[in-house]
Amino acid sequence: MHCQAPNSQAPTHQARKLDALDRRLIDSYQRGLPVCSRPFHTIAERLGSSEDEVISRLERLQEMGVLSRVGPVFDHARAGASLLAAVAVPEAERDAFAELINAAPGVNHNYAREHDFNLWFVMTAPDEPELDARLDALEARLGVPILRLPMLEGYHIDLSFPIPWAELERA
């Protein structure tokens, strides 16, 4: 299963373990993966590597947890329904609440944040009625009101992010 809680024991400073080819893959292909019959072969040609090497690098990066996957990022608004949600729960019971939230269908990106609203997550569903139903069901389980914050307008659609390799080396 791809979607698991990140293991907090796992090493987080993986950047130093990545060589130049790993970094070029990440820098060049957070977008624009070729849609042709042998995409990894095309990538290999552009980066001066081989198809086998590119595939094994990508497998390794996935195993290390550096990549969650290689594939499309769908537009939430078009791919289905989603919204950002938050709850305010007692800090001492935060882990237990987070577990209940993770157990609900459609939840991703569940983070603890420094605020009275201390758990923030994204709820997704195939459509709006199902989204509301999922939120209502979860709200009943949690016993606290869920702050529901749908996106009204997006000003930034580019999710790829330039990796500050030099800064990570120093961290």
């Binding site: 791809h2 979607c3 698991q4 809680a5 990140p6 796992a10 987080t12 993986q14 893959l25 977008r31 624009g32 993966l33 849609v35 019959s37 990508l58 947890g65 990549l67 969650s68 996957r69 290689v70 594939g71 499309p72 990022v73 769908f74 537009d75 078009r78 791919a79 289905g80 329904a81 989603s82 950002l84 577990e99 939230i101 939840v107 991703n108 990106h109 983070y111 944040r113 420094e114 605020h115 609203f117 923030w120 994204v122 997704t124 569903a125 702050l147 914050l149 749908p150 996106m151 009204l152 307008e153 997006g154 930034h156 580019d158 790829s160 990796i163 800064e167 990570l168 120093r170 961290a171």
Partner: protein, 180 residues
């Protein structure tokens, strides 16, 4: 049955029919889990979805063109690279200024996402959200200070919500259970 037809087309590699809506939905469910890391990933997906390889690629092209797919590539887990500081900055912006401020924030390189969302008074007065990622908290704070200065946002009430723990970090699952 349509599905059987589609599977036959996949088996012969022929693609004379448009794929069924059901097959496209299966394909989307499969794509949400990522491409198989094999030399011909689209062919593998085609076999699983009951389509032909060229139909799968045509679907992906169409979804890219109409904006359903925002990007296609490596989906990085920033925390694993050591990009630990993940700050959600929330702003209370007068409604008449929010689109303008949102667009200007979105142009900042440090800002990775920028959305307008509803206020929920009295608990939640903030209507503009942006994300700033960096290796360290101090860097995020310095970036934010520079942005506030550069864009002249000092008069806007805002708060920085750093994340302290990630309980889950993954892509959406929009396709109904059992669809894939």
């Amino acid at each position: 049955m349509k599905t059987t037809d589609d599977l036959e087309f996949a088996a012969t590699g022929a693609a004379r029919h448009a794929p069924s809506a059901e097959a496209e939905r299966r394909l989307r469910g499969l794509l949400e889990q990522g491409l198989p890391l094999v030399p011909r990933p689209w062919r593998t997906l085609a076999e699983q979805a009951g389509m032909a390889e060229d139909q799968v690629m045509a679907c992906v092209h169409r979804w890219q063109a109409d904006g359903m797919i925002k990007r296609l590539g490596l989906v990085v887990k920033h925390r694993r690279l050591g990009i630990q500081a993940n700050a959600m900055v929330v702003w209370n912006v007068p409604d008449e200024r929010v689109a303008e401020v949102g667009r200007r924030l979105a142009h900042e390189t440090a800002v990775t996402l920028c959305y307008r969302r509803p206020r929920r008074l009295p608990d939640w007065p903030y209507n503009l959200f942006c994300m700033i990622h960096s290796a360290r908290r101090e860097r995020v704070e310095a970036e934010l200070a520079a942005i506030v200065e550069r864009l002249g946002l000092g008069d806007l009430e805002h708060r920085v919500l750093f994340s302290t723990h990630a309980y889950r970090q993954c892509g959406g699952r929009y396709v109904r259970e059992g669809a894939a």
